[in-house]
Amino acid sequence: MAFNGPILLKRIPDEASQRKLIRYDDYVASGGYKAYNQALAMKPEDIINVVKDSGLRGRGGAGFPCGVKWTFLPKDIFPRYLAVNYDESEPCTFKDRYLCEYDPHVLLEGIAIAGIANRISASYIFIRGEYHTQAKILEEALKEAYEKGIFGKAYPGTDIVHHCYVHRGAGAYICGEETGLLEALEGKRGWPRIKPPFPAVAGAFAKPTIINNVETLACLPYIVENGAAAFKAMGTPTSSGPKLMGVSGHVNKPGVYEEELGIPMGKLIEKYAGGVKGKYKAAFHGGISMGVLGTNQYDAPLDFDIGKAFGVLGLGTACVTVMNESTDMVKVARNCVRFYAHESCGQCTPCREGSAWAYKMLNRICDGRGKAKDLDLLLEIGLAQGIMPGTTICGLADGTNWVIKTILQKFPEEFKAKIKAESVQGVDVTVGGVKV
């Protein structure tokens, strides 16, 4: 474990007043597109192997090994597409935006490298609908990259020309889910697809497609230039490399910071974000969908193994939102569930109906009309959701599940306190059968 300063953010100064858009020339002057040129001279298999060896795992939330994902592309079937997930709609998450707002070329270089490695014909950058300025910035950077021949050119020794497009979403969380994204890209309703077929076999426009998060791709230039070992030197054995971590909420200095994976959350908050404002109570460590870290989990290491050890779903986006003692956790639950009820695409019965039901219940509890029996039912509705129990098509419902489950289980007394006093007197309030 050794982290000697920013990798992805190396061109973006900490000091806000000094930050400015890094154009192609500045990018190249600071060593940009060197990895791209290196990659051009490499055999595609070799690039894939370096990425595999680096242990780079997806930065979009699921943490799937990037190099392994690439090998799922069926051999010798072309054209192949790359869908770049810049939807970044996960609440609390703003890392991709920060990176590309200032340094769009690091993404474009990553795309170019992934293109070489996988002989991609077209890369589609699917950017969140609300990112207006960012889309413009990206468009301009892309124009520069085309002018400099990064795109629109055949890979050496082939006649496969790599094109890259910016595609703007229309503002729906579900279009960040990889197959919802593909549907939206095809101009359809953003309804996640059932699998199989997997996107690697039949993705965008029924062609083999890789889907990668912005940050995942932005790691590629470093890996190609410095080798797998250098990347692996950062982080933990199962979670290698640096990670962008957006810190927000009750902290003194919110922002996007870069650290190696495995850094304890408390250290991140104190070292970079100026510490907690007030007294720490809880935190979303990876967007809301991973569930909440409790009051005694302040020092949870932010790596891909966080799930099992700390009773959360996973690392998610590693964007931390801190909540201090003034926070009403029941209202937090309500706010999160409102989000899922609003963003559910509506295909799967449990997600469509369950999220709205849970939201209505939480509203009632917040209004002081809750009943002792509500909490068990709320938990039951939560647990009925998600790909993990198998009841839904996509992972949005797992978010509903984990938010409800973790907040209820980690802060049961707050719910109990909200429930109308007279209805609680002499009545046991239980969460999942356990008395609180």
Binding site: S344, R364, A384, G390
Partner: protein, 545 residues
């Protein structure tokens, strides 16, 4: 053949099939809303989930349990697999999905047409929890008029999207879509674009709940009073297989009957709503004879006697006979009709009433795959093919109506035994011409009209729903239909009239006639498959699947 086990029952299957399909093929019920064998798989309702044990690819003698519930409609069957849809986990999911589907449902079964054939009701009973734990306010979605025949009660919709997929994949017209998101989403049409395609009302059958309802059937009958009889479309040469749903002598609706080779799970709206003529107010009910210049009601005994005398009298007087077939009669009836006329006048001319052709065949396609999904035939009669076959079989003097016209004018033909078209419309005008000047016209028909006015003897016959027989579709498939309701008033089937005219004793029975046809060398009629008779209400539902 690969085998698997579903809920403890060993079954075998062939080819690439989903677990759900294998279960349905073997009569095992797994609850399903969104799955329909005729539509794409979306696996979104989530009620069909089961626990699965699959052979370990590394050691096929071992079974590994998939840690999560799997959609049986979307999971391929694998040799050696075991599926549990009644395990505690599967049951818990069924209960949960049922509860979720009902939280915003109005529970207005007493005023819902679907009650009695509703999957929400059936599955609530079988898989639900009996009481609701939902204490919040229900969402209330509106009723909408979405087509000439279709109402959408959006509050009863469970968002299975079967209707949407049908209009996208089968009718190819895409009128229906999902609007909104999450629990706010609704099925709707685009403004000013109602669901009026030639297959539109199939979405009513497809809807597993009472959301899409038939305006024509609305509030006319509780479905549990309906009896179901297998039949064939009487208004198209396509030969669509149908069920007639009826009660106490009245037809209430027509539903599709699955036939992979012809109509699959669907029927055209023209067939679905093409039964009004059965209950037309102007149906003829009693035999009538032109006597002393005016029409007089007579008994059937007298009518048969007169028919026989009139035909024989015409031949004795030196005239000739014509036998005019109707493409709306069964082949058995045509066989007897020709036999009857030729037995009196072996040189009798045989012709057929005109067949209505409405423009061109309407060919519907799946816009994504380009595959033809349905053809609505331009030819609007069920049995032209049967008539042609009978004419070819008997041979001899066969002519067109035009030629017959000449013969009537030249007094070569002076009497005709005519079976008439139940749809007197423009296309039959020319045959009215043909029959001008004929001395004796014995006319079998269901309704009045110009030809009726001209007939010397009118024999009121029943419609296809009131008799049995076979029709032969445009490609020559011989298909049986069975009598659904009793004949109206004194009406009789044309077949029974010819049967009696031929001097036979005993009742007219289509099987006996088919026996005679086989004896006459028409071997195709030897083993006509008779579709199963009455269906119970539960079976009606399964048939709609």
């Amino acid at each position: 053949m690969p085998t698997m086990e579903i809920d403890g029952k060993k079954v075998s299957f062939e080819g690439k099939k989903m677990i759900m399909q294998v279960a349905q093929d073997n009569g095992i019920e797994i609850p399903a809303y969104c799955y329909h064998p005729g539509l794409s798989i979306v696996a979104s309702c989530r009620i069909c989930l089961g626990e699965i044990e699959s052979p370990d690819p590394k050691d096929p003698t071992k079974l590994v349990r998939v840690p999560k519930l799997m959609p049986t409609c979307q999971t391929p069957a694998v040799d050696g697999m075991k599926v549990y849809t009644k395990s505690p986990k599967s049951r818990a999911n069924q209960k949960a999905v049922m509860e979720f589907l009902l939280i915003n449902h109005p529970l207005d079964c007493p005023v819902c047409d679907q009650a009695g054939e509703c999957y929400l009701q059936d599955y609530s009973f079988k898989y639900g929890r009996g009481e609701s734990r939902f204490e919040e306010d229900k969402a209330k979605n509106p009723k909408k008029d979405v087509g000439n025949h279709i109402l959408l009660y959006a509050d009863r919709c469970i968002m299975c999207t079967r209707c949407v997929r049908f209009t996208r994949e089968v009718s190819g017209t895409s009128e229906l879509a999902v609007f909104g998101r999450g629990h706010k989403e609704e099925i709707d049409i685009f403004p000013g674009k109602p669901v009026n395609n030639p297959l539109a009302s199939n979405v009513i059958d497809l809807c597993p709940v009472g959301a899409l309802l038939d305006k024509d059937f609305l509030f006319t009958q509780r479905v549990w009073f309906l009896k179901s009889s297998p039949s064939i479309s009487p208004v198209s040469s396509q030969g669509e297989n149908i069920y007639i749903h009826h009660n106490q002598g009245r037809i209430y609706r027509i539903k599709p009957r699955f036939n992979q080779g012809i109509n699959k799970w669907w029927i055209s709206d023209e067939t679905r709503y093409g039964f009004e003529f059965v209950h037309a107010a102007d149906r003829l009910r009693v035999p009538e004879r032109l006597q002393f210049g005016s029409s007089t009601e007579i008994s059937w005994d007298a009518a048969i006697l007169h028919a026989d005398e009139d035909l024989r009298g015409a031949v004795k007087a030196g005239g000739g006979l014509a036998c005019i077939l109707s493409p709306f009669d069964s082949t058995e009836e045509m066989f007897l009709q020709i036999k009857c006329v030729r037995s009196i006048d072996p040189q009798a001319w045989i012709a057929m009433t005109p067949v209505r052709i409405d423009g061109q065949d309407i060919v519907l396609k799946n816009p994504q795959t380009g595959a033809v999904t349905y053809t609505v035939k331009a030819e609007k009669a069920p049995n032209r093919k049967g008539a042609e076959k009978m004419m070819a079989h008997f041979g001899g003097n066969i002519c067109t109506l035009g030629e017959l016209h000449e013969k009537v004018k030249n007094k070569k033909v002076t009497a005709a035994l005519l079976s008439s078209d139940p749809f007197p419309a423009a296309h039959v005008a020319d045959y009215r011409q043909v029959l001008t000047g004929i001395q004796t016209l014995i006319r079998l028909g269901t309704r009045g009209g110009a030809v009726y006015e001209r007939s010397t003897l009118s024999l009121p016959v029943c419609t296809w729903a009131e008799k049995s027989g076979v029709f032969e579709n445009f490609e020559g498939r011989i298909q049986a239909f069975v009598q659904a309701i009793p004949p109206l008033d004194e009406t009789r089937s044309a077949g029974s009239i010819f049967w009696e005219l031929l001097g036979n004793n005993g009742p007219y029975d289509v099987r006996t006639v088919r026996g005679l046809m086989v004896a006459a060398g028409l071997n195709d009629y030897g083993n006509v498959a008779i579709p199963e008779g009455e269906l119970k209400v539960e079976e009606m539902q399964f048939a709609a699947l």
